[in-house]
Structure formats: structure tokens, C-alpha cells
Amino acid sequence: MHHIPLADPAWRTTFPHLVAPLPNEWIAGLLLRCDEANFWGSGTTLGHILRPESKRTAMNDLSSIVPTVIDLEALAAALAVPLSALVATTYLAELARLYDVAHLHARLLSSSFVFHVCPACVAEERRLSRLLTLPHITHCPQHQLSLVKLCQCGAPLRLFHRQARPFTCHKCGLDWKNLPQQKMDPERMEVEQHLLSSYDFFFTKGTPALLASTLRLIYDSVVEKGEIRVPLPDEDVRVLPGGRSSQRATSLGYLVHALWQLDLSPRDVMVYAGPLPWRSIKWMTFQCPEPNCPYVTMIRDRTRILDDTEDHVQQGEPPKVFEP
């Protein structure tokens, strides 16, 4: 519902000013737009729809990615939008399908959270994209700009802050739309396009079986190669004393990163059924002169499902957003 007349009972149960989710918007951005449209301080909407016992500060960390602290039903009622439209501003549905667990948590996606914004997205339509929450993504695919995590005054950007206006620095008050716009390094952008394709693959086609297959492929690949690519410069990994890194091994961010490190694509994941006894685990390079080879048939069947995904990637379209 986008229009509520005064006589409608929904008038009394909705916020004074309504906002509707934008395509591929992140829920945190929606909450800030609601604050701004209603002339409220940053985090006022959030405070209203937090689940009991949840802390407002939770939304400045991992919980903003998978917002289990938010009562989505209450928010849907207050904005007069379908619940499904709000679920689409999170990765709840995608992660639930991929991991098939009773209790979703942000750690299924990432082990840490860095908040950063695209100044151009904020300037154009006050939009915080859902892609900003994905681990290892440091550029805006739409504007090809580096995401900004520090204000010009040096303060780290914070999503919600009681004393700040929405979309502004809590220290100096600078509007995020006025943050410097810096072009992204093309090489890094290419890497992140690869990562985005993998995320898209898991969000649209992911299942627990696929997840297990991915882990098996990663394990076998590491065993076969004995080495992996160097980590990304701003690796989402906590370095422990002794140079070891700590990261939840099954988080999607970790898997996507590992696939890139091992030079593996979603196609490799789809066709992988275990290491072949006589050659590379890279099934895509597998060729057999036998006309009725069962392996070739299996590979052909499995790769067909990927054609749609690859088609739009080749045409330069943004990754699909999973609609529950």
C-alpha cells in the first residue's frame, strides 16, 4: 500500500511519513530514510521496531547485516508495506535457504562488519545498497567508486547515532553525500566482480547440499594445489599472534573468498562431485574421447542450470536479487 487516506484505519498505525524499500536497498538504509522523512534523529525508527531485549547498538555491528534484532512484522505494519518487501532488504531468506538452520546469524555471512557507503548512491536517492554488507566488497558496482568508511574529519562512519541526523557524520555533521568520490582500482574491481558473481550464485541457487559440495571442493582443491592465492589486501580476517588467521570457515564470505583464492568459479562448484582419481579436480577442464562418457553427461546437465546466471553476468547486468 502506498497511499493511505485519513479514513483508513491504517492511518493510526503507520508512521507519519511513509517510505517504501528501493530495489536492492539494505534495511539499515531504509530505516535511515524513514528517520529522515519523518524528521527524526538517526536510529529513531530502529528504536521503535527493535525486538524486546535487543540493544540499539547491535545495529551498528554484525546484526545490521542479518537483522534478527528487528521486528520486521512491526516495521511492515508501520510502513504499510508487505513483509516480503522488507525481507528483500536483508539476506535472511537467502541465508536461510543456503544454511537451513533454525537460528540465523550474521556470522553465517561474515565474521566482522565494516560500515562504508557509496557517496554517489546516497547523493542520488539516499540509498544504502544491500551489497555494501557483503564481505570483501569495497566498491559500488553501479558507480564504480570506492566505498567510504571514514569521514573527512577522520571519524569512522556510524550507521546509527542518537546525536546525529540520518546520513550524516556523527562527529562533524557532514552529509554522506558530500564524502569524496574516488574511482576504484580496475584490478580490484575485477576481483570484486568475481566475488559478486559468486555471492549472486549462492544467493540465487544456494542449498545446504551446494554448500557442502563447495566446502568439499575447497578442501580437495587446497589438498591438490598445496597453495592458494594471496589474501585480499583488506582481508576480512582477524590475524592472530603467529600469523594465523581466524575466520568462521563456513561463512559465506569465507567460502566466496576461498573460491576466488583457488581460482574456482560457481560452474566448478556445480559440476564438482569429488576428485577424479586420475587428474585435476578442475572438472571443467575434463574431456573424454568416449562418446557416452557418464561424467561428460553429468557435467553437461549440471552446467545447464548455470547458463542463466552467466548470461546476465556477460551482459554486464547487476547480480540478481533473490525475491522470497
Binding site: 502506498h2 485519513l6 503507520t14 508512521f15 511513509l18 524528521f39 528504536g47 521503535h48
Partner: protein, 311 residues
């Protein structure tokens, strides 16, 4: 008489009628809205003030829209009933906008000004304004002053709608006091019509309402002719018991009660027109025996008491 056993139950219609009173009352509200003037508007209890306010509010094209924003040209509230401070009035204003999260009063205070300006409020109507106290009126002045000042620069109309009895108009004496606040309030009231009393219905106006009732209940009373009882009804409803101020005007509440009650009883007797004896009995009950105490002794005929064997 018809076979009333086969008739569906009587249905009282509660349509909003654009009566002569409503034309006068809403005309005044519209004038204030249009010219952004301030008035104290009084009328007898039961005249139809609240219904008139609700109707004009609903007709004011108020909406919440994700694209066009929120538009509420007429902001109508009811004065807080249990006194309280400015917060009580502020909360009543906030509630008119819908769901507003919890926030400190000092924040809400300034938010209200911004919200009213942004929603393009042009006319503020406060029903039951006789319940407003000093703190409420001071807040009202602050609110409207802030709206009139930069950056909003919005002149809004203010209609304080009160119920009155006799010649006493609530707030009139308050605004006549020498304190600065009241003098400021008095200065903002309209020059020509600062205090208005909207009168009830004359006999002719009662007749036109009865004719309207005939149309409304035609489906349940095919032979209904209420208009011929105009003189009697007007006489009963201007009796000193129901018109203690001697206004010689009829309020809509009294008229509706008399007609509806008579129609219901006539309908239950299977009549297709109003039953004269029922009309007289109902009028006498309302006028002469209104304080009579009814003793409730019997049980409703449909009440069945479950009997259970005790072992």
C-alpha cells in the same frame, strides 16, 4: 400490519446528515480554514460538533503517500480529558499523525512544529476545547507562533470548539483576563467573529431533517411519513427539560434519539409507518420521565441456562 416475524431486525442508520446546523458549523470552520482566522466556536452538547469536525477532516483530502508525502490540511484533535500539562496536548497532536516513536518531550515539541509544517496543516481544530487548561493554551500559542516564524512562516487557522450551556461561552472569560498570555491570545482571535455560538435547529429545519429520515428508512418503512409530526416533535424537544436554556432550538442528538427509538419500537410491532402512540410515549419518556429509573428483573427470553447433572 405485516408479518413482522419474517422481517429482518431493525437497522438504525447512522449516516452523517448535512443538516442546517452542520451547514452553519462547517461553514464557519471552512471560513476559518480559508482565511486562517482564530475562533472560539460554541454549541450545545449533542448538536453534532464532533461529527461535523470528523466529516470536514475526512473531506479535507488528507493522505499519506510514499511518493507525494503526507498531506493533512485540517488537523483535528480532542482536548485531553484529564487535564495534564502541555505534554498531554502534544501527545494528542502526535497521535493525529499516526504512529510516532517514543522520544523525549523536548524533541517531540520541536518535531511537532516541523511535522505540522511539512504536512501542510492549514487549520487546527480542537474539539471539547472547554477542557483545555492554562498549560495547554500556552503550548498552543507556542506551537502556532513557531509555525508563523521563519523558516516555516505558516499562518494556521485555529478553531477551539466548545460545548456551552446557557449564555456562558467557555474560554471567553479566560481570554478577557489581563495576563499577557491571554491578551496575546485575544489579539489573535478573529476581529469580526472571535466568539461564535452555532444554533440548533428551528422547526422548519427539523421538518427537513425528518423528511431526510423518511428517505433513509424508506426500505424498512415503506409508508413512513415523519414530516407530519414536525410540530409535535419540535414542541417536545424544546421542552424546558431538554432545552433548559430556552434556546427554542432542537439538537440533532435529541431528534435522532427520538426518531430512532420510535422507529425501532414501531418496527418491532410490524408497522410500516411510525406509530403515533409509540412516538408520544417515547417523547414523554425523553421529556417528562427522563430520570425515571428502570428496574431490571426478568431474564432475556433467549437466555438458556445450561443444566448439568451433579454426581
Amino acid at each position: 400490519m405485516t408479518d413482522f416475524g419474517a422481517r429482518p431486525p431493525f437497522v438504525a442508520r447512522d449516516y452523517f446528515l448535512e443538516t442546517a446546523f452542520e451547514l452553519r458549523f462547517q461553514g464557519l470552520l471552512r471560513s476559518a480554514w480559508q482565511h486562517r482566522t482564530w475562533h472560539v466556536i460554541a454549541a450545545l452538547p449533542g448538536s453534532g460538533k464532533s461529527l461535523g469536525i470528523a466529516d470536514i477532516t475526512q473531506q479535507s483530502d488528507s493522505y499519506k503517500d510514499t511518493r507525494r508525502g503526507t498531506h493533512m490540511p485540517v488537523l483535528a484533535i480532542r482536548a485531553p480529558k484529564n487535564g495534564g500539562k502541555d505534554l498531554a496536548l502534544g501527545m494528542a497532536f502526535c497521535a493525529a499523525f499516526g504512529l510516532v516513536p517514543t522520544m523525549p518531550w523536548y524533541v517531540r515539541r520541536s518535531w511537532l512544529v516541523q511535522a505540522i509544517a511539512d504536512a501542510h496543516v492549514e487549520c487546527i481544530v480542537i474539539d471539547d476545547a472547554q477542557d483545555l487548561n492554562l498549560a495547554h493554551l500556552a503550548f498552543l500559542k507556542e506551537l502556532t507562533d513557531n509555525l508563523a516564524a521563519p523558516p516555516y512562516q505558516r499562518q494556521v487557522s485555529l478553531c477551539l470548539v466548545t460545548a456551552h450551556n446557557g449564555a456562558v461561552i467557555p474560554l471567553k472569560e479566560v481570554f478577557s483576563q489581563p495576563d499577557t498570555l491571554w491578551r496575546q491570545f485575544r489579539r489573535r482571535l478573529d476581529t469580526e467573529r472571535p466568539f461564535c455560538v452555532v444554533q440548533g435547529h428551528t422547526e422548519e429545519e427539523v421538518r427537513s431533517i425528518l423528511v431526510a429520515f423518511e428517505d433513509i428508512y424508506r426500505s424498512q418503512f415503506p409508508d413512513l411519513q415523519l414530516g407530519r409530526w414536525t410540530r409535535s416533535i419540535f414542541t417536545w424537544l424544546t421542552h424546558a427539560t431538554v432545552d433548559p436554556d430556552g434556546s427554542k432550538r432542537v439538537t440533532m442528538d435529541h431528534l435522532t434519539r427520538l426518531v430512532t427509538s420510535t422507529l425501532r419500537q414501531s418496527y418491532e410491532q410490524g408497522a410500516t409507518d411510525i406509530n403515533a402512540s409509540v412516538l408520544q410515549a417515547t417523547a414523554e419518556l425523553m421529556v417528562l420521565r427522563r430520570d425515571e429509573i428502570t428496574s431490571i428483573e426478568g431474564l432475556p427470553s433467549s437466555l438458556s441456562i445450561a443444566v448439568q447433572e451433579v454426581r
